[in-house]
Amino acid sequence: MAGILGIDVGLIPLINIALAFLVSGAILWAIDVDPLEAVEIILYGAFGYDLAIGYTLYYTTNFVFTGLAVAVAFHAGLFNIGGEGQAYIGGLGVGLGILLVDNYLPFYVILPLAILLSAAFGAAWAAIPAYLQAYRGSHIVITTIMFNFIAAALMVYLMVNLLIQPGSMSPESREFAAAGQLPFMHELLGWFGIPIAPSPLNLSVVWAAICCILVWAFIWHTRWGYEVRTVGANETAAVYAGIDPRRVIMLAMCISGALAGFVGINEVMGVHHRLLLNFTAGYGFTGIAVALMGRNHPVGIVLASLLFGMLYQGGAELAFEEPKVTREMVVTIQGLVILFSGALAYMMKGPVERTYLRLFGGLQRPAAQEG
C-alpha cells in the first residue's frame, strides 16, 4: 500500500493546509476584501523588494527556533505550549548577561556566552514543568501554560522595578554597548561590499540554520534522539528497552526550552539591543502551528517558518494597504492551520483514501478501503 503511505505524508498535509487557506480566504471575502488581491499584496509585501525579504527572514528566524522547540518536545510525545514563556526567559538570560559584561568583554566572547545563557535560561524554565511531569505526575500542558503567565508576571516585575533605565519612562533597560550587539545582515554584507536594505535581519538567522542541522542530527542520528523518539512512540516499549522515560522527558524539554530561548538572541541581542517587555509577541505560539505544519521535521519547519514569516511581513503590508484588514488576520490563519493540520489532521484521510482507491485501486479488495 505504498500509494496510501504517500497520501499520508504528502497529499493529506497539503490538503489540510489548503483547507486552512480556503477558510482564511472565505473570511477575507466575508469582510469585503478580494482574497486573490490580498494574496498578491502579501506575496509582494513579503518578497517583492530586498527590505521586505529581510523582514520576512527575520520573522522566519524566530519561527524556526520556536517551531524546532515544539517539534523536539512532540518527538518525545510532549506538548510544550510554554515556548512563549521559555523564549521570554531566554531573552532575559541574554539581556542580563550582556548588561553585566558588555563594557568589559569583546564581541567574540559575548556571543557564545549569550547563546549559552539563552539556552540555559530557556531550558531552566522548561525544566520545572518537565520535572513536574516526569517525577510528580502533573500534566505538562497545564504547567507550561501556567509558566507562560508566571514568566510574563516575572518580566513585568523585573523590568518595572529593577532593570528599568533610571530616568526612563518606558520599562526598558539601557542599550547594550556595541560589543553586546549582534551585527545586522546589512552591516555584515556591507563589509563584504554587498549592499542590501537595512532590516532587522541579523546574524542569528545563521544560528537558526545551524540549529536545524543540529536538531536533525540529534533526533535521527544520536542515541539520545532515538530514545526521545522511542518514548514518544511508545512509552511502555521504551521502558522494556531499558530507557528511562523520566530522563528522556527532562532531556527533550530542556532542549525544547533552550531552542525557544534562542528567540532571545534574535530579538534582544539582534534587534532591540536592550531588554524590554513583550518582545516575544506570540512567536512561541506560532511555533505550534509551524511544528504541526512542518510535520516536526527541520526541513518542514524551515518551509513552514518561511510561510509564516511571509504571512507576518506580507500581512503587515496588507494591513497597511487595506484598512479593513488588521495584522491579526495572520493570527487567525495561524489558528486555522493548527485546527486543520493539528486537530483535524485525520478528517480528510478517509475521503482521500477512498477517492484514491476508487481512481487507482481497482484491483484491491474492498476491505482495503478502511485504511
Partner: protein, 324 residues
C-alpha cells in the same frame, strides 16, 4: 476600624464581580473535563462570546439578544471542539489551542472590519447591558448594623448574570451528582468502555458535555463584555479562561471546591488592584505582579502534589475508539 471593614466589604464585593466569569467558565470546564474532554478552549469560547454579545448589543440594543448571540457563538465553537476531538479523535489540547488562537485573531479582524475602531466594539448603552439589581428589602435593611451592610452592599446590587453564576454551581452539582446524565457523564470520563458496554453512546454523551461547556462559556463571555464592562476590547479575557481552568483543577474537578477556588483567585485579583503602590513598612512596595501570578503558582504547586492531590478523570485526553 469601620473604614477597614468597609474596605473589606468593597473588596469582597469586587471579588464577586471578578469571580463571576471564572465561576461560569470553571463549571463549563467541569462538564467537559468530567466527560474526558480536556478544555483548553475555555479562553477562546469566552472571548468569542464576549465579542458576539458586545457586537449584538451595540447593533440591536438588546441585552437578551446579546446573551443569545454570545451563547450561540460559544456553542458553535464547543461543537467544533467536539467535532475535532470526538468525531475525528484529534488531539484535544491541539484543538483547544487552535480555537484560542483562531478566536484571538478573528475577533479583532471582524471587529475592525465591522466597527472600524481597532478591534473594539462601540460602547454599549445602559439599556443594552445587564444592570445591577437591587434585591427586595436591601434599602430597608441598609441601616441594620452588620447584616444590613452585608446584604445591601455585598449581596444586593449585582447584575443578573452574577446571581446566575452562583446559581450555576449548585445546579452543576445537582446535574453531575444527582441525575442519570451526570452519572453517565462521570462514568464516561473514567471508563468510556464500560459506558459503551452498557449500550450508551460515548460520542453523544461527550457531545452533550461539550455543549454544556459551550453554553456556560457563553454566559461567561457575555458577562465580561456587557455585564462587567460596556464594550468588547481586544483580548479582554486576558487569561481568565486559563485561571478558570486552574480553579477547576484546584477544586479537583468538583463544583463547590472549584467555585471556592474561583472566589480565592477573584479575591487575589481584587486585592492586587487595591495594593498597587501600597508600601508595607519592612518589605517595601508590594509586588503586585506576584499577587497576580499567585493563582498560576498555586495551581502548579497543587498539581505537583505538594498540597493535596489533584487527580484528573481517568480517561481525560484520550479519544474513545470503539472496538479494537
Amino acid at each position: 476600624m469601620a473604614d477597614f471593614l468597609l474596605n473589606l466589604l468593597l473588596i469582597f464585593d469586587a471579588t464577586l464581580r471578578v469571580a463571576t466569569p471564572l465561576v461560569f467558565a470553571a463549571m463549563a470546564g467541569l462538564f467537559s473535563e468530567r466527560s474526558g474532554i480536556i478544555d483548553i478552549s475555555l479562553e477562546g469560547k469566552m472571548l468569542a462570546a464576549a465579542f458576539a454579545a458586545a457586537a449584538t448589543a451595540a447593533v440591536t440594543g438588546s441585552a437578551w439578544l446579546a446573551l443569545g448571540a454570545g451563547i450561540a457563538v460559544s456553542v458553535v465553537l464547543a461543537l467544533l471542539h467536539g467535532f475535532a476531538c470526538i468525531t475525528h479523535r484529534g488531539d484535544q489540547v491541539v484543538s483547544g489551542v487552535a480555537i484560542n488562537i483562531l478566536v484571538s485573531g478573528l475577533t479583532v479582524v471582524l471587529g475592525t472590519a465591522w466597527f472600524a475602531r481597532g478591534g473594539q466594539t462601540p460602547s454599549v448603552s445602559q439599556d443594552a447591558r445587564f444592570r445591577p439589581i437591587t434585591l427586595p428589602g436591601a434599602e430597608a435593611l441598609a441601616d441594620v448594623p452588620v447584616i444590613g451592610a452585608l446584604y445591601s452592599e455585598l449581596i444586593s446590587g449585582h447584575n443578573l448574570l452574577v446571581y446566575l453564576a452562583f446559581a450555576a454551581v449548585p445546579l452543576t452539582w445537582w446535574v453531575v451528582y444527582r441525575t442519570r446524565f451526570g452519572l453517565r457523564l462521570r462514568a464516561v470520563g473514567e471508563n468510556p468502555g464500560a459506558v459503551d458496554t452498557a449500550g450508551i453512546s460515548v460520542a453523544f454523551l461527550r457531545y452533550r458535555a461539550v455543549l454544556c461547556a459551550g453554553l456556560l462559556c457563553g454566559f461567561a463571555g457575555t458577562y465580561l463584555s456587557i455585564g462587567q464592562n460596556a464594550a468588547f476590547v481586544r483580548e479582554m479575557t486576558a487569561g481568565q479562561g486559563y485561571i478558570a481552568l486552574a480553579a477547576l483543577i484546584f477544586g479537583k474537578w468538583r463544583p463547590l471546591p472549584a467555585m471556592l477556588a474561583c472566589l480565592m483567585f477573584g479575591f487575589l485579583d481584587a486585592v492586587a488592584i487595591r495594593l498597587q503602590g501600597v508600601v508595607v513598612p519592612v518589605i517595601g512596595p508590594i509586588p503586585v505582579q506576584l499577587i497576580q501570578a499567585l493563582p498560576y503558582v498555586l495551581t502548579v504547586v497543587l498539581l505537583a502534589g505538594f498540597i493535596g492531590r489533584a487527580v484528573a478523570p481517568k480517561a481525560i485526553g484520550k479519544a474513545y475508539v470503539k472496538e479494537r
